[in-house]
Symmetry: C2
Subunit: 406 residues, 2 copies
Amino acid sequence: MLPPPKHLLNGFRVLDMTHVLAGPSATRVLAEMGAEVIKVELPGGDITRTLPVIKDGRSAYFLQQNRGKKSLCIDLKKDEGKAIIRELLEGSDVFIENFAPGVIGRLGFSWEEVQKINPEIIMCSMSAFGQSGELTALPGYDYIAMAYTGMMSMIGEADGAPYFPMAGIGDVMTGMHAAAGIGFALLHRERGGGGQYLDISLIDAYMSCHELNVELYSATNGEVEPSRCGNHHYAVCPLGIFKARDHWICIIALQPQWAGVCKAIGREDLIEDVRYDTNDKRVGKSAEIIDIIQGWLDSMPSDDAIVEALREYRVPCALVLSIGEAIAQPHLTQRGTVRQVHDTKFGELTLPGMPLKFSAFEHNQPMETAYVGEHNRHVLADVLGYSEEKITTLEDIHVLRSDPST
Amino acid sequence: MLPPPKHLLNGFRVLDMTHVLAGPSATRVLAEMGAEVIKVELPGGDITRTLPVIKDGRSAYFLQQNRGKKSLCIDLKKDEGKAIIRELLEGSDVFIENFAPGVIGRLGFSWEEVQKINPEIIMCSMSAFGQSGELTALPGYDYIAMAYTGMMSMIGEADGAPYFPMAGIGDVMTGMHAAAGIGFALLHRERGGGGQYLDISLIDAYMSCHELNVELYSATNGEVEPSRCGNHHYAVCPLGIFKARDHWICIIALQPQWAGVCKAIGREDLIEDVRYDTNDKRVGKSAEIIDIIQGWLDSMPSDDAIVEALREYRVPCALVLSIGEAIAQPHLTQRGTVRQVHDTKFGELTLPGMPLKFSAFEHNQPMETAYVGEHNRHVLADVLGYSEEKITTLEDIHVLRSDPST
């Protein structure tokens, strides 16, 4: 087993009772920063161990979200299992869980109980609808929160069905919210503030991402209700998705970039054109602007030539890359936005990098992925000081579980 | 001027040279947690002060992202302006900027220079493409990073144009990434680790949100290339957007919820049906599953009845709410996911709440929004100890600017 990366959370212990995606995204960040993360799995293991790609029993999905974490697999329905958690809480700095609200309390580990065991601990609960409010107990996933907060209503054609991104943006970014809250709570504790409880939810995170829509609705008393309107923005022009030769291309020009657009497309005459010289005017005549730009794109020989022309005048633009094209970009490897990791079963694998880059520590350090219960003995013997005999008994009565095939 | 909210960052000073959205989203979180945030604006002010809704010269867009921050407006082209920044850096805990890479260095405030002025400071740069790699200098915004990282390719119909959410998810969540990095760096400094530099980018944040697509592509050596495929997921069934009576509705069932779906739609016979009893089988016959569920939805008298039936069996679901519908949900007000704020010009305004909820501090505390240069005199006199005479001179030679109409 590799030790935690040398990083700023060395010496911090995180008791991780999260599963699926939002919670593991939070503790993945903590593991990357050198925390000792003890992932508690219930018998059978985190359900994402069954998600593709599976090779020799191991899931690449699970691997990506859980590298660098120790796996402790225990039966929490048994009192001996609960006792292990209680003892681990005593020596942990952080306790994080993302069961449906209410479950952790029924297991005996509500914040009320946890702070009795360890008043200095930072406890973080993550959920779809949060720990308070009339809908707290509802089950939910990423896209449920996206729909409920109005975010999903902002994607697609005005007269068509809404869409969602086929990626767990909401879960992963809510994980970063939890990690942030934990970091600040640890800072406060370091300064003598003691332990506390964090309530992080997908709906809070999604709602805060409405930088414009909510105030626009509220400040106009509902006269303007933002809604999906295709792939050109309703309030900025040009800002949208055009057709290049082989790809779609996203082009954005706020006022400072408008002159650059005109130069790039060989229409310097438009810079001073009073029909188009402010964003408001361009939004009012957006069909004309889009036609002019699309006409230029259609006249160009290649996507490379298009991108080169726009970049020459510093117009923000990007081809809409496929997943394969994106991860093959040299720039992304150069800065560790993607990285090669080694796994005993998969060999070399390309994965997203750690998104926080600190100058004082090496980025994207090597880590391994545990099988179900791989660290049962290590945690009980080295962390809790259990005797060999006691551990063997716990195995015999199936409080401890493990599955080296995962 | 209200003092910072009583919260865990009281006593920390943040020198904030960010503008537009990603940077201000980071420092907004710091301000909510009680930091003293001194926002440095260039003459004319943050460009978002011109974004809608404008009332009596004030922008609700600017207001939302910049409550609780002091405004210091100085001409950085003048040496006297740069001198003010140098002096503020000496007494700040955090320095954050989101100019295009290279600009801050040309202003004289690269990390190399900043750490000479204050080796204990945490400096954070935010950008679209990051501070390293061959494309570092490219201009970019949220959707540019979304396109470049493959995320945009995952939204829309397989044979149609891609879409983007009409909301700044990328900017706001990258702001939370920066806030998180700053929190952990401050924790490290508190433990004797000294200052350091953070490089936070939109592309790193977006790439890390591919929880499945990248590993799926990589682990299959490109044989499976995930791509947009409408509004039903390619790997889970049922997971998608259906048509209810008056709304679209998002319904998600992983394996543990499949039986609940069958019961909710009155088809308990399907629970044990060997054609549909695993997710893999359902994905293989997704058109059949979608038809069955859509048929049930079509038979229901109202959206309320649909939601009630699904909730009874704990099937994760949500109507795709509009912005106005979303912010009117009592649950969101009950837990502060949205909040009423008071502004001198707008009066009462509904805005998204602070997404981090700490048990030790009050949530969503009152804060005010500064006009351009509102705190020039306060910062120079009370923070830097400048004399009245010196401040007046700086006003006379236009190093200091202000505009009370904003």
